[in-house]
C-alpha cells in the first residue's frame, strides 16, 4: 500500500464527527440565526428584518441584560473570594485528604442540577430549615426565598466547583522550589503570595472566572426557582419568548446577542491571558 492510503484513513474517520457536528451544532445555529433576522408578515410569510435586534435596545430589555451581567459578575466574584482560599487549603493537604475533599466537591455534580436547586428552596423557604433555626433561636422568620440574594446563593452554590477546580489545578502546579527560592531571597509569606502564588495562579483565575461567569449569565433555572420570577434575567426572557410568548424570532435574536456577549468576554479573557502557554492552568 502507498503512503497516501495510510494518510487517508484518519480523514475518513473525521466524517462521522463532521456529520454529527453539522447536524447538532451548525444546523440549529443557522436556524436560530434565520429566526433572529426574520419577522412574520401579515400574509403568513417571513420577511428579513432587524426589528428583533432593535427591540432588544428598549430600556426594559437592556435593564434585564444589565441585571444578568451584574448578578453573574457578583456570583463570579463571590466564587473567586470563597474558592481561592478553598483551593489553597486543598493544595496544602496531604494526598488522602486532598482527594477526599476534591471528591466531596465534585460529588453534588452527580445529582441533577434541577434537584440541587430545588433543595435550596427547602432550605430557604418560609418553613425551611434556616427559618426553623431562626425561630428556634427566637428570631422572626425572614423571607429568604424569591429574592435576589437567593438567586446569588444558588449561582454560587452551583458554579463554585467550576471555580475551585481550575484554581486547584494551577495552584498545585506551583513547585515548592519556587516558593523556597522566594523565601531565600527575603520574601515573607505575604510577599510570596503576592509575587509568586498569585501571578502563577492567574491562568486558573481566568479559567475559573470564565467557567462561572458563562453559565451564571445565561441561567434561567436558578432565577426561576429561587428568584420566583421577580427579577427576570436574560435566560428567563429567552425561555419566555420560546415557551410562553411564542415569539421565536425575538428569542433567537436575544440568544444570538447573548452568545456574542459571551464570546466577547471570553475574547477579553484570552487577550489578558496572552503570552501564556496553553498547557498552563487550563483544566478544560
Amino acid at each position: 500500500m502507498s503512503r497516501s492510503g495510510k494518510k487517508k484513513s484518519p480523514n475518513l474517520l473525521q466524517y462521522p464527527y463532521l456529520l454529527w457536528a453539522s447536524l447538532f451544532i451548525v444546523v440549529p445555529l443557522v436556524l436560530v440565526l434565520w429566526y433572529s433576522f426574520t419577522s412574520p408578515t401579515p400574509t403568513g410569510d417571513y420577511a428579513f428584518s432587524i426589528a428583533n435586534y432593535r427591540r432588544f435596545f428598549e430600556p426594559v430589555y437592556l435593564r434585564v441584560m444589565g441585571r444578568s451581567l451584574l448578578l453573574a459578575a457578583e456570583a463570579t466574584l463571590v466564587c473567586l473570594v470563597v474558592g481561592y482560599p478553598a483551593a489553597m487549603i486543598i493544595v496544602r493537604l496531604g494526598l488522602k485528604w486532598r482527594n477526599t475533599l476534591l471528591l466531596l466537591l465534585v460529588l453534588p455534580m452527580w445529582i441533577n442540577f434541577l434537584l440541587r436547586t430545588y433543595s435550596w428552596m427547602v432550605l430557604l423557604g418560609r418553613q425551611g430549615i434556616l427559618n426553623q433555626f431562626l425561630e428556634w433561636v427566637g428570631l422572626p422568620p425572614q423571607s429568604l426565598l424569591y429574592s435576589r440574594g437567593a438567586v446569588l446563593i444558588g449561582m454560587v452554590y452551583n458554579f463554585l466547583p467550576f471555580m475551585i477546580l481550575p484554581l486547584y489545578t494551577s495552584l498545585s502546579k506551583i513547585g515548592r522550589e519556587q516558593i523556597e527560592a522566594a523565601e531565600d531571597l527575603g520574601a515573607n509569606r505575604w510577599d510570596v503570595f503576592r509575587r509568586i502564588i498569585l501571578p502563577l495562579s492567574l491562568p486558573g483565575i481566568l479559567t475559573g472566572t470564565t467557567m462561572v461567569f458563562m453559565p451564571a449569565v445565561s441561567t434561567f433555572v436558578i432565577s426561576a426557582l429561587l428568584g420566583g420570577g421577580q427579577d427576570m434575567l436574560i435566560g428567563n426572557l429567552i425561555e419566555q419568548q420560546f415557551l410562553s410568548t411564542g415569539d421565536w424570532h425575538f428569542g433567537s435574536a436575544l440568544s444570538i446577542l447573548m452568545m456574542v456577549i459571551i464570546l466577547l468576554s471570553m475574547a477579553a479573557v484570552s487577550v489578558t491571558d496572552k503570552g501564556r502557554s496553553l498547557e498552563e492552568g487550563n483544566l478544560w
Binding site: A181, E183, L185, G186, A187
Partner: protein, 353 residues
C-alpha cells in the same frame, strides 16, 4: 581546625537531623570562615543538601545548634537570613523575565528603582548576560539559566552564598568555564561560598576547604591537598582520586607489612602490630624491571587516557592500578617500586564503606 586564626561566620555545633525515624545527619560540627570557599563533597544521599537546607533555614535541626557570627541561628526564618542560595534546579521564577528574576530580592527590600536598575545591570555584566534583560527564563540555555540563578542570589550581596550542585546540569566544557568564573567571583566579591557537589575534581580545584561526607557523617575536613595526600580513611581515598588500597599491619612505627613485603614508611602513631589499610596512588607506583622492583606483576590491560596510560597490573592475585606516561605491553612482566613517602597508612576505624 579553621577556628584558629580565621574570622568565623558559621559554626555548626553537633547538629543532628532526622526526618521522622530516619536520621540523615549525625553530629555535624564544622566552622566556616569569612571569605572561605568551602565544599561539601559526598555521594548522593550523604546529607550534604540537608546541610545547605539547614543553613538556608528550610529545615530546623533535630538537635545541636547553628551559629551565625556567634548568634544562635536555628530559629531564624529563611527570609531574615543574610544568606542566599543557588538551587540545584535553579528554581527561577517562570512568570518573570531575566531582569525581574534578578531584581526579585531588591524589590522585596523596596529599594528605589534607579538603585535596582544599577545593581541588576552590574550583575548582568558580571555573569555575562547583558542584553538578555527582557528574555523569558524558558528561552535560556541551561548555562544561562544557571548564571541568572547566581546573579539573582549575588545581587543581594549576601554574607554567605550556598550553592547546591549548581553545575550538575551543564556539559563538561561549560562546567569547567563556570568553575573558573565562580571561583573568580568568590575571590573578587569576598563572599563566603558553601558549595555542595559529588564531583571530586570540582571540589579539589575550587575550594579552600573540602569536607568529605558519607552517610550523614563528616569523614574528613581539610585543604584539597590534605584530603588528597593524607586521606584519613578508605572512603575518602576512594572517593577522591584513584587509589590502590591493601590490608596490612604496622609491626612498629615507620614500618608496614602488606602484600607479603615488609617496607619502611613515614607513618607514626600506631600501636604494635596494629591492623591498617595501605594506600598507594596510581601515579606514585613506578614500573621497573622485574629484578629491581619491590613486587613483581604482569600487565593485564592498558588504556590510553590522554595525559597518561591507565594500566592494570596483576600481582599475586591482587590488582594494581598504575598511571604512567609511558605505555607497557599487555602480558609484560614488570617490577613495581615505590618510596616510603608514596606509602600512606590509614587506621581501620569502621568507615571503610
Amino acid at each position: 581546625m579553621s577556628a584558629n586564626g580565621k574570622d568565623l561566620i558559621i559554626r555548626m555545633d553537633k547538629v543532628c537531623m532526622a526526618y521522622g525515624s530516619h536520621q540523615v545527619l549525625f553530629d555535624i560540627s564544622m566552622d566556616v570562615g569569612k571569605r572561605e570557599f568551602l565544599t561539601i563533597l559526598g555521594p548522593s544521599g550523604c546529607g550534604k543538601t540537608t546541610i545547605l537546607r539547614l543553613l538556608g533555614g528550610f529545615e530546623t535541626p533535630t538537635s545541636g545548634e547553628i551559629y551565625f557570627e556567634g548568634e544562635p541561628f536555628s530559629s531564624v526564618p529563611p527570609y531574615k537570613r543574610p544568606i542566599n542560595t543557588v538551587f540545584q534546579k535553579y528554581s527561577l521564577f517562570s512568570h518573570l523575565n531575566v531582569f525581574e528574576n534578578i531584581a526579585f530580592g531588591l524589590r522585596i527590600r523596596k529599594l528605589p528603582e534607579s538603585v535596582i536598575r544599577e545593581k541588576v545591570d552590574r550583575m548582568l555584566t558580571l555573569v555575562n548576560l547583558k542584553g538578555f534583560e527582557k528574555r523569558s527564563v524558558h528561552s535560556l540555555s541551561g548555562g544561562q539559566q544557571q548564571r541568572v540563578a547566581i546573579a539573582r542570589a549575588l545581587v543581594n550581596e549576601p554574607k554567605v552564598l550556598l550553592l547546591d550542585e549548581p553545575l550538575g546540569a551543564l556539559d563538561l566544557y561549560l562546567r569547567k568555564e563556570m568553575q573558573f568564573e565562580l571561583k573568580n567571583m568568590q575571590t573578587s566579591l569576598g563572599i563566603t561560598f558553601i558549595y555542595v557537589t559529588h564531583d571530586q575534581e570540582e571540589a579539589l580545584t575550587m575550594s579552600d576547604t573540602v569536607v568529605v561526607m558519607n552517610q550523614g557523617r563528616i569523614l574528613q575536613m581539610g585543604t584539597p591537598e590534605e584530603i588528597y595526600n593524607e586521606p584519613k580513611n578508605v572512603f575518602t581515598s576512594r572517593f577522591i582520586g584513584e587509589s590502590n588500597i591493601f590490608e596490612g599491619f604496622m609491626p612498629q612505627d615507620g614500618e608496614v607489612v602488606f602484600c607479603g613485603i615488609r617496607v619502611p614508611c613515614v607513618d607514626r602513631g600506631f600501636s604494635q602490630n596494629e591492623p591498617v589499610y595501605v594506600l598507594i596512588r596510581p601515579e606514585d607506583v613506578q614500573t621497573v624491571n622485574p629484578q629491581s622492583g619491590l613486587l613483581k606483576g604482569k600487565v593485564q590491560s592498558v588504556v590510553f587516557k590522554g595525559v597518561h596510560y591507565e594500566m592494570i597490573v596483576r600481582e599475586d592475585g591482587r590488582q594494581w592500578m598504575i598511571h604512567s606516561t609511558k605505555s607497557l605491553k599487555i602480558g609484560e612482566e614488570i617490577g613495581l617500586y615505590f618510596t616510603p613517602e608514596d606509602i600512606h597508612v590509614m587506621k581501620r576505624n569502621g568507615l571503610e564503606a
